[in-house]
Symmetry: D2
């Protein structure tokens, strides 16, 4: 075989399998998304179109690896995918896992872009994502990992919400807003939103405050119950206003995405992962 003289180079590949019987998390994160979101005129602090594109991409990944993947969690420019501890997908080879997940995600993000952004905002260049594999030995570690990401979502979103209210409604410059928030803790930020802008942070769309959870293998029936956020006014009319946010409410629904999720029996949730509630309801489905 003509190949033989060179074929020895194959032996330079090193095995990179990860430890058996551990939860495998693949976390994907947009590379240089600060620039990407600005060039694509994302709304601040959250652009529901971008979130839909991320969720479409994540759903595509869930579909691709559905036998092995039980949960995904995303917010901002990142998504974490949980591969079951018993999985032997790609013999648990790290680079196979990381590369197929991230390429599926990137590929899906571009593929579904137009469906989420419409004709007004074409994709200007192909986005890049990094990804890594991290293993967690116990269920507790895995839950703490997800809590870590959701706490990050909360902290960033609370900060960003305050920041952009100060800038967009409060007339502050970016520098002033930053200075004003520097020493505040969570309670201060909640208070600031309420006293200055009559905004109850807890009434902000859960999709922004909590991020998105995708649950695979959802028991029949439940997959249909993906959380479709109730309009803000309906929930808390005392805070109703003609405020631009209310226009968001309609955008929150993305029929194409919801159809895709239902087809693949993937449940979409925007709720607390840190408290026990979630795990009482979905522990068996996700960890079992």
């Amino acid at each position: 075989m003509a190949n033989s003289r060179f074929e020895y180079v194959r032996k330079y590949e090193l095995d990179d399998s990860v430890l058996m019987n551990t939860w495998i998390v693949v976390r994907v994160d947009g590379r240089g998304f600060s620039r990407f979101v600005s060039e694509h005129h994302f709304e601040k602090p959250n652009d529901i179109r971008g979130i839909h594109a991320m969720n479409f991409a994540a759903a595509q990944v869930m579909k691709e690896f559905q036998a092995d993947m039980t949960l995904a969690y995303g917010h901002s420019d990142e998504y974490s995918f949980v591969i079951h501890r018993s999985s032997s997908l790609f013999s648990r080879r790290s680079s196979k896992l990381v590369s197929t997940v991230v390429s599926c995600f990137a590929s899906g993000f571009v593929f579904y872009w137009n469906r989420c952004f419409g004709a007004d905002q074409p994709l200007l260049y192909p986005p890049v994502f990094d990804a890594r594999v991290v293993c967690y030995p116990t269920d507790e570690n895995l839950k703490d990992y997800l809590s870590w990401r959701q706490a990050d979502c909360h902290i960033n979103n609370l900060y960003n919400t305050c920041f952009w209210y100060l800038v967009q409604k409060g007339g502050r410059t970016n520098v002033e807003a930053e200075a004003e928030l520097k020493t505040t803790v969570s309670a201060d930020k909640n208070e600031l939103l309420f006293s200055k802008f009559q905004v109850n942070y807890n009434n902000i769309e859960p999709i922004f405050r909590k991020g998105t959870i995708l649950v695979g293998h959802a028991p029949d029936g439940e997959a249909k119950n993906s959380e479709h956020p109730v309009p803000v006014q309906a929930r808390d009319s005392s805070n109703a206003s003609e405020d631009s946010k209310s226009s968001l409410v309609h955008d929150v629904e993305n029929e194409a995405l919801n159809g895709f999720l239902a087809d693949h029996k993937i449940l979409k949730l925007h709720r607390d992962l840190i408290s026990q509630d979630f795990w009482e309801q979905f522990g068996q489905t996700v960890l079992g």
Copy 2:
């Protein structure tokens, strides 16, 4: 900081940096492309539109990492990217390298799909690619690696060319064609093409026989000289025919791709990597 209770999970990330001072190759390969090409009605054995999409995606990668990447080589559904041995890109962290390269590739492939396939063949679903990192300690090892991939291109392309001539022009069934080729060596296949179909294998487009080499950092002037294959008839009129292949000749040019390459001073070549010639001309640019 609210994060602190969970932040410990970050310590579960393990360092996966690769050895210093070695050539880093990231090889990307389409996942399940046998099915993908058939569902997208790729021409057999080679579809120039698909090759353009691969080359666009690879050029996007070269552009993204141009400071560290000196050469790329691709054929079929795969592409290999060479990162310079002196590079400290991402501190040489394996998963960062593999994930950003493959996601850029996948993202680019989808992004440029329409430009290559036009309206006739829309992309039906987002493709997935796997990728791996392999290190080579010496220049010789790196050259042998590239030779290995090009020898693979040659062997597959010669086989596939025979196979599809037998099936498409020779009226064989797939099974018959396979049987007929089973025991043949290269010389037999060349002879078969010539005697049965008046095809001189060496006149087949180099882009099919040799694959595509992209050279970054090309010295000024040379980047303009990317090889734009001379039409078959012009080169070897004795073999001219009204044969359907000749229609390919025009497709081989993709102005958008060539413009992109010229803009980013990337040289595109379809030539032998195994012999010394290439290295005499480009050794300094690629390895220096």
Copy 3:
């Protein structure tokens, strides 16, 4: 600093830390011990002097790493050391763990040789041991690991006991004995020992049948209770005989070793690890 020109080579060291929160097992195994035992005239199938040397070496390791090591288990030419899942010894760097454990073991084995073998059998050359690190994510995995090693001890010891009875008492050649045992299962071997040699396998010294367990952090009081095997005759007088084995009984005690163990509060046991009993008694000490 004169060092600086060369100091860059330090960066070629790659991090090899193992995953957090997993049980770390370091297994040591004599290299080429088939030859070593024969050149040092070990008794067959078990030489209590060699076992004492192994146990001394293991106790030395337990002492050295006592804060992090909770259990060790050994038989034949191997010893497994369990480092607690919460340990951050050497930042969990694999090569540090493996090298310090195995060098301590090897060094101890040579150091205590004379104390175990006396003047009759000097050490002829320095023995070599290999070692590896394996991580286990759950307590169950760890127990199964130890069960695996003890099952190995049982199988080998039952076989070897039969083999050497057949050869030493039964007048078989090695080849004949091997052939005779080839198709036997455990029950057959027990039967063979009893019917042909009036030996009840269960009366053989537990140190040979079960191997040796060392428990660190033993609760006060318990460390004094290391199992000192009851003489065979006492336990099962029906099988009493003037048989040379009975002379072994006295050798089983090694006062120096027992003193060393007591000094360092290490408990020595020769009992079943596979059944729940052991874990009910020592689970908290070992795993807690």
Copy 4:
């Protein structure tokens, strides 16, 4: 097989092979030797008996792996072993390499202790060594690695020599000596030795200044020429003195060690590795 229920735990072992075609260095270093040397009353700054024990241990390692190991270099409590880039010893598995080398070294150190230290200084407890594997892709990297270690030897030895002259002959306390040396560069230290103690640093035994190089595969004839340091007086009578150092001269020879080395055709040298000279003479033997 009774083993089967537990045997799955074997799959938790991860492959740790190192990259092909790179120089493999295993560096061994005494653990906590500051304490060990003081408890064993090593002479300061260098104890020739300790160096002999280190060299015996290293020679044992060279002998054990002679087919794959071409050079070793040691000083102080460390030794580096060079395994040829083409070696496939233990399939290049990192933990096998590190564990067998370091256990052979530790085992050898204890085994040969009495031969080096005599009855006056028994070994009080088994010493521990750590070890690591580092790969170097080029010959230049390997030479720089060895130069790095020898530069370290030089810097430490020059410092220690000054320090102990100041303390032992100059009547300084440790603190005073340290302060006096704090801001000095090499030239200052040479000058200090000469002006204060009439010692020409270059006349100090090369074994102390340069460390010890062991060359395996030495061409026939050369192995006999291991460097047996010429007595100080002979070389530089102008510096002759009744100084206690001269008594060292005889100790430097260790007949047992030299015999061992000659038997195994291992060359022992105490010379410069940093300049080209060494590599001109031994490059072929070591690197070829």
